[in-house]
Symmetry: C2
Subunit: 152 residues, 2 copies
């Protein structure tokens, strides 16, 4: 079945494989509900943003190659929008390129595992509230667009 385009899919096939495994892990093992490619108020875009049962927000930034990591000098800005931040990498990428201070997930297209837990740095209440509302509206709109593609 060809699925309609849900997100803009600017990511590489390698990054999409990692994304799929990460989302399976977070939902299946941690009961987090996952959005892909979430635009943030700072203009960046979270590769995976997951919402936990108590409203916890985790962001996962996918880096599929060394250069992909090296060219991104601003990844720390994601940490303003989540309680925990993880990098995610494919199995073949050296884990030692990632800062030891951050969480790390290894993933392929089928599964994933947390190699290093992220430190929790809780969001301020007002930001969590605003972000949760924004996500509820984002999810509704993405589904609505699929249900009624001719209307937009």
């Amino acid at each position: 079945m060809d699925l309609p385009q849900i997100v803009d899919l600017r990511q590489s096939p390698a990054a999409l494989r990692v994304q799929r495994g990460v989302m399976r892990l977070l939902r299946g093992q941690h009961d987090f509900c996952c959005f892909a490619e979430v635009p943030l108020a700072n203009g960046r875009r979270a590769d995976v943003l997951a919402v936990g049962p108590k409203g916890e927000i985790w962001i996962v930034e996918i880096k599929s190659s060394l250069i992909d990591f090296q060219v991104d000098a601003k990844w720390h800005h994601y940490k303003d929008f989540c309680d925990r931040f993880y990098f995610a990498k494919p199995p073949e990428l050296d884990p030692d390129i990632f800062p030891e201070s951050e969480g790390l997930i290894v993933a392929d297209a089928h599964d994933a595992a947390i190699l290093r837990q992220a430190v929790e740095d809780p969001l301020p209440g007002a930001r969590r509230k605003a972000l949760t509302l924004k996500l509820a509206r984002l999810g509704a709109d993405r589904i609505h667009t699929l249900m009624d593609p001719n209307e937009m």
Copy 2:
């Protein structure tokens, strides 16, 4: 394009036409982001649940025939889960069958209009917070299922 099944589509074709028009109205004219068929904590299912820019929650209950309205003795339970409650009806259905105390929308598959505004009855803060989180997670899961249909 055949769309994948997003919701369970237990509704009649007549109700689905009304649903589409209602969702277009709420998004296009009121900046509300709409979910279809939202399960509520009381076991009922809201036909359309819409989230406003400030977190307002509106529920729209679709009645496509007189009998459809008459057999539902428990519609008032929706009002525990929203700030405003509306019935929605197709153009051919008599508006006078609906209680004057409630909001009323007329809709076809292309458009809709509010015939009578609903009275605002604001949700308690804790319920709004819990519902908004639930919607964020619901939206994420519905999209995730579409992105990765073989995983569920």
